[in-house]
Amino acid sequence: MNTHDLTYWLFGNLRWSDFPPKSDLIATGAASLVILGALGVVVLLTVTRRWRWLWSEWLTSLDHKKIGIMYIVIAFVMLARAVVEAALMRTQQAVAINAPGVVSPEHFAQLFTTHGSVMIFFMAMPFLSGIINYVMPLQIGARDLTFPFMNAVGLWLTGAGAALVMVSLVIGKFSIGGWSGYPPFTELPFSPGEGVDYWIWAVTLSSLGTTLTGINFAVTLYKERAPGMRLFRLPLFAWTSLCTAILMIFAMPPLTVATALLALDRYAGFHFFTNDLGGNMMNYANLFWLFGHPEVYILILPAFGIWSEVISTFSGKRLYGYKSMVFAVMCIAVLSFTVWLHHFFTMGQSANVNAVFGIATMLIGIPTGVKVYDWLLTMYGGRLRLTAPMLFAVTFLFCFVLGGLSGIILANPPVDFSVHNSLFLVAHFHNMLIPGTLFGMIAGYMFWFPKAFGFRLEETWGRIAWGCWSAGFLLAFLPLYMLGLFGMMRRTAETFRAEYAPWLWTAWGGAGLIVCGLGALIVQLIVSIRRREALAVPVGDPWDGHSLEWWTSSPPPEYNFAVLPKIEETEAFTAMKRRGRAYESPEDYADITMPKHTGLPVMIGAAGFVCAFALTWHIWWAAALGLLAMWGGVVARSFRSDFEHVIPAAQIERENEAWLARARATTPVDRFAELDPANRGKAVERQ
């Protein structure tokens, strides 16, 4: 064995030149930011001596609430990264008219690939998994998800995928094949480097994690509801969680198949999607969009749930048309599997096929319209409080209708032929994804933050964030509709039409405002933490809420509810409050068993990361080791039976009675004074 063989054996394709400094300044800057960020976290944890706390309180926890929060932390970190990339792309397109601009074409391709992949897989998905994780078990009156261990494994697989994308900023390069990774471009002859492999394994890890999480959510919703919580008494967010979970169960496997087959092509010389020897990239397009289209409903349904809760709570009304809302969600979930082909109208199937899929696509407009009317009618005649989440809801309603209309336009195959792959499309999907998904997630974060941490978020900064995000969105994306109609294509690093400039600069300004919006969210968090005494809502019901999650202290105890409630109607908590039973002591307390902490899920995630990183760089021994360690972790877990600990009834009684006493002693505030420091977590309807 010569030295070359030995280095390959040990380090695969890794070379010194894959490490920083990078070829250009911006890439080196990004790599330095990742390294500095990681170092900063390490130093901060060491200086404040928080390592042990982090490990024993958070990383090893199987509590659905903590797992939910950790998901959301991942989502925010990745959001920051992807927004910066977006701003960079907007800058590039604005200045690169008859000029090379600030980044090279290859770097630009990396930017849109990572931006898209990160936004979808490592921002939106963790965000919604996090919110469902936190809120759904509380809403249905459960103590935890059915499979807490699996829940943690799902989190850490997602975390491993996110880490892999972050590492790609430092070591080597990421894919330039777009978030959808279309072969044959992503096949070896056209993309020989490590980039596509980074993409494949990051996406595969997260999709495996999401499949597990989806199974967990669905089973929890079927099996863990409190006594009397019939399906048609579920809060709407729980309903959308159920439909999302079902979509995850059926839509993630196609993605796993697509990435696995692509990997076989790249690693073993198979011919699924190659240009020659019988390969056919259309099979990839079908597999990918069989996942991809339901995916956009995975992204949007939880937001629909959040809007339903936010709008009905801040309108002080029941949700209008509860059943029609539920049926609309179910219809959307089913229809989402019947339209994937609209993503490749232009790729050569017959006109009849296109017509069928075009009509199927337009049909989704019907249930979606039902929902929009229901939200409007919920607000109609209500006593609205325009808090920050509610403001986001209003922006959503306006913009979402616009985005929906552009979707109906695109569903028309002849029209799609002419604007296909132009910025019109980019405008359309951002029009759905930003007001639809992202604003929903931000609203949910603001709405449930006081539940999770015991204090409200500062309202002024919330409104500033809303203003920046809303105006920024409109400025950044409405011009793209025009640019698309003028003929500017997506993913272009340089253009030659001077008349695009005003539109591109407007979009650039919008992106700048969005960056400010992100900044405002960060400032809001810091200000709120500083003023947490004044903003505290320990009793737990700051918005006069309707559903069970508001019927515990803020933050809730590990076991959620001291005794499980008996549900007799929809809007369970409102019913309790109306009958004056909300803060009564239960008759007796019993011991509660809860899962113990364990470090195994973190280790499984770490092993998954090692395996994926090693596969990317062809370090076979480490890949095998990582894979073995992952399964070893699962088997090791199966040899234990002591995964639970018992919380004695006396302790529960003590904690619960303390909360009840506090709740009874707290003077309720009027709903309209809910932003006042006097609100200690007990807001009520004006008498």
Partner: protein
């Protein structure tokens, strides 16, 4: 709780306490949901196979050239027999108090599974010797991947069985092990169902 009542999906665990039955509900249900997800994977591989077996030949061998009906028949018999023996193991778990018959039936299942894999490996080697490697054409890629994925599942089932053989001897795991055997049974029978689809679409159509 009466013995007759169907307490949860699958053959009930049998003579244990009511609490164990209650615990089984969500766990078994969750496993069914997982199986649905896993079936989507096979459905997609079958769909890919069917497309590739028409359009991915690339001048290479056709389905007819790589179909060995005799071997497929033996494999089918082995796998169906193993499902039968696992069924017997489940019944023994439900109705018999001693472990021995259940263990015996499971050992038989494992042996049949190993024999199945052996025949499958023989098929693969034979194809490779004839130069019919998965790298030859899209069709062969799909053929190897579909069968390989099924074979990988069978292997995973065998590893799982091995772990359970060990765990049956670990005190304190009894209840968990019983539940796991029930789930493994579902998994094993599902692989049989998938195999029937493979037999139909790969071998019977292939030979035709």
């Amino acid at each position: 709780m009466s013995d007759q009542q169907s307490l949860h999906a699958g053959v009930n665990i049998g003579r244990t306490d009511p609490e164990a039955h209650e615990e089984a509900g969500p766990v078994m249900f969750g496993f069914w949901v997982f199986l649905m997800s896993d079936l989507v994977l096979f459905a997609l591989l079958l769909a890919t196979y069917s497309a590739m077996s028409l359009h991915g030949i690339a001048g290479g061998p056709t389905p007819k050239d790589v179909t060995d009906l005799k071997s497929a028949g033996i494999e089918t018999a082995l796998l169906l027999a193993s499902s039968f023996t696992f069924g017997m193991a489940s019944l023994a778990q439900k109705y018999r108090d001693d472990r021995a018959p259940m263990v015996a039936w499971m050992v038989a299942t494992a042996l049949l599974g190993i024999a199945f894999l052996g025949f499958e490996a023989r098929d693969f080697v034979k194809l490779a010797e004839e130069g019919h490697m998965p790298q030859r054409s899209g069709f062969l890629s799909a053929h190897f991947t579909l069968l390989g994925c099924h074979g990988l599942h069978v292997s995973a089932g065998l590893v799982w069985m091995a772990v359970l053989f060990v765990q049956m001897r670990v005190p304190g795991l009894e209840r968990l092990v019983r539940l796991r055997i029930m789930r493994l049974a579902l998994f094993w029978h599902m692989l049989d169902v998938v195999w029937i689809a493979i037999l139909t679409f790969v071998f019977l159509y292939g030979a035709a």
